[in-house]
């Protein structure tokens, strides 16, 4: 078994083997999830706490379902409404939770690096469900699984990531993962939404979406946050849609069998045309959601195995990482 880490904080620290281990196990859970009886007991007796310091419906539901299907006791804490408002620091929150002896902590936080800060202070396994603009590892893993199932492989593909790269943790984790798996990555978007130093990432950057989409195998669209639309980073949503929105005409430049992905939730008519999102021959957006549950089951299963393997050594939580 390749994957021995204590936490899943990002793609950056994963090896190719780690990634394949998680994806292979996820395939197993895809099968399970399609059966009438969807229960397994990999997390039986364990407690999973979902802490979302940033509003989320889809990711939180996905983690909750994944935990429940594996038999964990799952608790959701809506952190944006609770103690943070009372001035409690992240560290104090972590220590409070730690005293409740959770086994798996699923954390989303609006600041980059916050999940790692928290992981350093607790004894359980921590899953990063998105930290600021930094990483969103399970999203990249579910995207990888979706691509592998649709394309039959996860290497030597030409993949375009389009839109707000600068503010996107999904883009960062995907660039890291798809790069590790030896794919060609193209980034497409307005300059104001490109991160600095992007030339050093080993990717190709395109201002012109038509040029960038030429002959790609995968088109990965990103969500454009509403607060960035009006004049701050781009002049207007209609100008954005005209230049960087995915419509049938632009998609026609990609390979005929190119797939369309989106992490959701979509802004139809801003970054993607509604008919493309709904086109069952091109869009794998619903499949991404399905793979999300399976990948999260796999990740939590593996972390729980590592947790158990190390508990036997009388570990206090600090010695291995």
């Amino acid at each position: 078994m390749g994957f021995t880490a204590r936490h899943l904080l990002g793609i950056e620290s994963l090896s190719k083997d780690d990634i394949l281990t998680i994806l292979d196990l996820a395939e197993h859970y895809v099968t399970l999830n399609r059966q009438p009886n969807k229960h397994a007991n990999a997390l039986a007796g364990l407690t999973q706490i979902n802490m979302f310091f940033e509003a989320s419906t889809r990711t939180q539901a996905s983690f909750e379902l994944a935990g429940k299907r594996l038999g964990a006791d799952v608790m959701n804490m809506a952190m944006q409404a609770s103690s943070i408002k009372k001035g409690e620091t992240l560290i104090d929150t972590a220590l409070t939770l730690n005293a409740m002896h959770p086994d798996l902590l699923v954390v989303r936080h609006p600041h980059s690096g916050a999940v790692r800060l928290l992981a350093d202070k607790v004894n359980c396994a921590v899953l990063n469900a998105g930290d600021g603009r930094h990483e969103h590892p399970t999203q990249a893993l579910l995207d990888a699984l979706t691509i592998r199932r649709a394309k039959g492989r996860l290497q030597r593909l030409s993949i375009a990531i389009c839109g707000d790269i600068a503010h996107s943790r999904v883009a960062r984790s995907n660039i890291l993962l798809l790069g590790k798996m030896e794919n060609r990555i193209r980034l497409i978007g307005p300059r104001t939404l490109m991160p600095s130093g992007i030339a050093e990432f080993g990717v190709e950057v395109f201002d012109d979406m038509r040029e960038g989409l030429k002959d790609v195998d995968v088109v990965m669209m990103l969500r454009l946050q509403r607060e960035r639309m009006d004049g701050a980073f781009i002049p207007s949503s209609r100008e954005y849609y005209h230049r960087w929105g995915l419509d049938a005409e632009k998609l026609a430049l990609a390979k005929p069998d190119a797939i369309v992905m989106h992490p959701g939730p979509m802004n139809r008519g801003v970054e993607i045309d509604g008919t493309i999102a709904d086109d069952i021959n091109r869009s794998v957006i619903q499949e991404q959601v399905e793979m999300g549950v399976a990948v999260r089951m796999a990740a939590m299963d593996l972390l729980a195995r590592n947790l158990r393997a190390n508990a036997g050594a009388g570990n206090d939580g600090g010695a291995w990482a």
Binding site: L90, H109, G113, G132, H134, R172, P195, G197, I198
Partner: protein, 432 residues
């Protein structure tokens, strides 16, 4: 007062740019004689054998933050004074960005009184340039000068209104007062936690272009040209700002520049996995910028090295990187960190003390900063080669937010004297 004779020392004279072996005689708190090796030694009440180690003019550190008034739990005059003495800093030029800011003669008087009663080393305060550091109305620059302010600065609160700053510079210039500017364009710098580039993007942290520094500097230089003010740029940390600085000098503007020790010895990658003790203002730069700025210190284009000592308590640092406070303590680590530049061959010892002691004294009109007859006996004796591993919990500052925790360093202060009086002796209260 009795005489003290320091024998068998490497004497660093930054004024002449030379190092000689010999002895130094202190009488009544001032340097009375420099005696090169071989000269006949006079009688003295006390003789200190320097054991062949380095004796240099004490460091004059521009821009030390002390938490009085307002944040004494982070640093007091007493704790900062002890830290300074242990670090070979004999004069602290304290910042005005306290709570409340030091923007009236009355608050300045409070600071001077606390300093006199509590601190082991000399203190000369800066005062705010504008009331409340708000960038709208100038402070009573004349009264503050009379009360003892050696310079005027709003710290990192940049005066954004050009007309306001022009008037401040004009008024201060007429009184001969030195104005210290923070040369980071405030709009571009707003919210930035690191310098932009691949590392910033990988970490997903809000970042600022290094060109924000050139923009801030060029704005200030134009206003200095307009008003004829005496001006010091607090920290020049990028290669892009060096050209404008050089041209301003060549044009005869009365402009000097400083740089913090952290920007000379660390780079952006040291932040690693969101280590907030490496969050400083401006943010740490690329290795190319660091190297260019070290070179500029060697060339004399950047005049002054400072600690930019900024104490922060654990609570303000144990936060997600974007939310964590900026700044690092450095009074005690300034000299050993600066000696890295000497050990690396980037500077020689006289050039280092030109930047640490001589230039700050000259710029502020203070009598210290040199080993010359008549100068106050503000001295630091240190072993430049002594290695040690820094343990932040042994620091004398109330706050322990140093980026050098666990670092191997070379250079140990053995003794510090202010006006001929010993204020620090290695080993007295220290374990190895």
């Amino acid at each position: 007062m009795s005489d003290t004779l320091f024998t068998n020392a490497r004497l660093i004279d930054p004024e002449q740019g030379q190092e000689i072996r010999g002895a130094l005689l202190v009488t009544d708190g001032a340097i009375a004689a420099i005696l090169p090796e071989g000269d006949k030694l006079p009688e003295a009440a006390q003789t200190i054998d320097c054991g062949g180690k380095v004796l240099a003019p004490g460091i004059i550190d521009i821009g030390v933050k002390i938490g009085e008034p307002g944040e004494r739990h982070k640093e007091s005059f007493r704790s900062a004074g002890r830290a300074a003495a242990a670090g070979g800093v004999t004069t602290m030029i304290t910042r005005a960005d306290t709570i409340p800011p030091i923007d009236t003669p009355e608050t300045l008087a409070f600071v001077l009184e606390r300093a006199r009663d509590q601190a082991l080393v000399r203190i000369h305060p800066l005062a705010a340039l504008t009331k409340g550091r708000q960038g709208r109305e100038m402070t009573e620059i004349g009264f503050l000068l009379d009360a003892g302010a050696v310079g005027f600065s709003d710290g990192d609160a940049v005066v954004t209104d050009n007309k306001v700053l022009a008037r401040c510079l004009s008024y201060a210039g007429a009184l001969g007062a030195l104005v210290i500017g923070h040369v980071q364009d405030p709009g571009l710098s707003d919210g930035a936690a690191v310098t932009n580039g691949k590392f910033a993007s990988l970490r997903g942290l809000p970042a600022v272009s290094p060109l924000a520094e050139r923009m801030g500097l060029e704005r200030d230089l134009a206003l200095v040209e307009m008003t004829g003010a005496r001006y010091h740029a607090d920290q020049i940390t990028t290669a892009a700002a060096l050209g404008p600085l050089e041209r301003a000098r060549a044009a005869g503007l009365d402009v000097t520049a400083g740089v913090s020790i952290h920007h000379l010895t660390l780079n952006e990658f040291d932040v690693g996995d969101y280590r907030t003790f490496f969050k400083v203002k401006p943010p740490l730069r690329s290795e190319d910028d660091r190297a260019a700025v070290v070179q500029a210190v060697g060339d004399g284009l950047i005049d002054i090295i400072c600690s930019m000592h900024t104490p922060q308590d654990e609570e303000s640092k144990r936060l997600p990187f974007e939310e964590a406070a900026s700044g690092a303590v450095a009074l005690e680590t300034l000299l050993p960190a600066a000696l890295r530049l000497v050990h690396a061959g980037a500077l020689d010892m006289p050039a280092l003390f030109r930047a640490l002691s001589f230039n700050p004294a000259r710029r502020l009109g203070l009598p210290g900063g040199r080993l010359g007859v008549g100068a106050p006996a503000d001295l630091v004796l240190f072993d430049p080669d002594k290695p040690f591993v820094l343990d932040r919990f042994r620091l004398r500052s109330k706050s322990r937010n140093t980026p050098f925790d666990g670092h191997r360093m070379q250079g140990r202060v053995l003794g510090t004297w202010v006006g001929g009086k010993r204020v620090f002796a290695w080993g007295k209260d220290d374990a190895a």
